[in-house]
Amino acid sequence: MNRENAVEVIDVSKNFGSYQALSSVNFEIRENEFFTMLGPSGCGKTTLLRMIAGFETPDTGRLLLHGRDIVDIPPHKRRVNTVFQSYALFPHMTLAQNVAFGLENLGWDKARITARVGEMLERVHMSAFANRKPAQLSGGQRQRIALARALAPKPEVLLLDEPLSALDLKLRQAMRDELRTLQRDTGITFVFVTHDQEEALDMSDRIAVLGSGEVQQIGTPLQIYEEPSNRFVADFVGETNFFEVDVLKATEKTATVRTPFGQVISVPSPAQVPVGKATLSIRPEKLNLGDQVEGVDFLAEVVKKQYLGGYTHYLLSAGGVEIRASRRNASRESDTIAVGSPVHVGFIEGSARVLAA
């Protein structure tokens, strides 16, 4: 087996009653990477994470941890640790005891445990709280202890189940940096589960977008955002406009299409689309507005606008098709387009994407 892969998921399926949570999922997680499973609730991401931890068993398929099949190994014998969404700190133990728990079960000697617990508490800036109980901590502090507890035994893989979802916005952003640093410093493979695309884009080396029990796309944050491989990914990650287009000619990498606004353009596509109907996807920030615009150019009417400080969002209409655009307010006078007035909309062909309908 490939030694560079920390985890390999091979043909894994899982049903809960008549509900298919995962249908023959395949992917691998590389050694030392920050890997994120991103998807809406019910997409199967948590089920996959729980399978790697050992709390769920796949109906079919195999799971390899560093090349070793772990399907039949119980959770307490897998060198994998989890940071739970609710943190799951033991309320009757002090923080030091919480962090020591895994080490004691691994049979480390006392001196080594004490040293490691001290080191981990130091690392998450919680040394001063060693003898407190979890109930006396804030959400962010609990989060840190949960991390320290899961990292202390030096697991082969660290699993994180939406660990930031219970924190408030400010803390969540600070924790993102901290998680990323921790991953780089420890060199441990992180498998992170979230439904928050921003978290995924910010922290991950690679992202697996999951939808309805299947892997929709795997790639770097840039690939996922700029080169979505289907409608689901384009829609779930970021905002986008979908226009129905007629495919006139297609190769494996590009398609020549007629837009609903009349132009015939040549646009990149992830795979060859059949001649006929297809979807053109273009993100709102890639549309330029003004009196004069570059690239593909058509006229639209401003229906509504939303001033958000740094950006203004516009809802436009052209020939009965709704278009969402957003523009950065580079200066105080940037926002000059009035509701009800006609405006030129333009985009570069290369920034759009043709996807199967």
């Binding site: 050992g54 307490h76 640790n81 799951a88 309320p91 895994g102 079960n105 507890r149 899961a150």
Partner: protein, 305 residues
């Protein structure tokens, strides 16, 4: 001057604020006074009273009720140590303790099992646990007398498989214990079930995740977190088991006297109310000792956490 007036104006309002809640508690207070405090005061008074010549008692202050627990007046009027009542007290402590421990051992797995069942089945099972309470306790004990009795199904069953004739299940300590455990076990199952039900399942997963096997998880996570339920179940079983009368009398055949029966005897056939009241006080104080001990322990745990 102005300060004094302000203070003056403040006082009545504050007093009203303090008093109002107590008025609302009046029914509870009345219940406590008439159903608990006054009866206990009467028993205390009786325990110090003088035994009447033809039963009953005369008010007074006499310690003979208490003295009688340990000493007997000999023919010549000297006091000699008689351990028989002390033995009854110790035997009662033993019976209540063994009952509590057996209930605990049997109830904890049952409670875990029920807590793990799906919703609707769980409520049916909890209902079934409470079902015996719908019937009078004395009837339930009689039912056990029939089951274990001379022509009962259990004996028939064993005789069918060649048990020697003359074998008997009734009128011994085992029969008493069986009925005691049967009677009090629901009082253990329910609080233990409630505390397991409240236990966060992810904590158990976290324990497994951190390399804890089943035994470690039970010992270090599940038991400490369900300890309050186990403790209250223990109290609920121990306290009534300590004063049990029916089971030792009917199932044990009254051969082994317990404190409950002893008290009953003194107020009835024995016609020694002060002595009966003194034993009742001892029983109550022993129970209080256990409860205060437990309360202190949990208070200490609170301070720690």
């Amino acid at each position: 001057m102005s300060e004094a007036t302000a203070h003056h104006a403040d006082t009545p309002r504050r007093r009203r604020q303090i008093n109002l809640p107590y008025v609302g508690l009046a029914p509870a207070w009345l219940l406590m006074i008439f159903a608990l405090i006054i009866p206990i005061l009467i028993i205390i008074a009786v325990s110090f009273a003088v035994r009447g010549a033809y039963g009953g008692f005369d008010w007074g202050f006499d310690l003979s009720g208490y003295r009688q627990i340990l000493f007997n007046e000999g023919w010549t009027g000297e006091m000699e140590f008689t351990p028989q009542y002390l033995i009854i007290i110790l035997r009662t402590i033993l019976l209540a303790t063994v009952t509590t421990v057996l209930c605990l051992i049997l109830a904890v797995p049952v409670a875990y099992w029920i807590a793990g069942q799906p919703g609707h089945r769980k409520s049916v099972l909890v209902f079934l646990v409470t079902l015996p309470f719908w019937m009078s306790m004395i009837l339930r004990v009689y039912a056990w007398m029939i089951i274990l009795g001379k022509d009962g199904p259990l004996l028939r069953f064993f005789e069918f498989f060649g048990a020697p004739s003359g074998m008997t299940f009734m009128y011994n300590d085992g029969a008493t214990l069986a009925a005691m455990v049967y009677t009090y076990i629901p009082l253990m199952v329910l609080p233990v079930f409630a505390s397991i039900e409240k236990l966060d399942g992810t904590l158990i997963e976290a324990a497994h995740d951190l390399y804890g096997n089943r035994w470690t998880t039970l010992r270090r996570v599940i038991l400490p977190l369900t300890a309050p339920g186990i403790a209250s179940g223990g109290i609920l079983v121990f306290v009534p088991a300590f004063g049990a009368v029916l089971e030792p009398t009917l199932m044990g055949g009254g051969k082994q006297m317990m404190m409950g029966s002893l008290i009953q005897l003194q107020f009835g056939g024995g016609r020694n109310w002060p002595f009966g009241a003194a034993i009742a006080m001892i029983l109550m104080m022993l129970v209080m000792l256990v409860l205060v001990g437990l309360a202190l322990r949990s208070a200490r745990n609170e301070v720690e956490s």
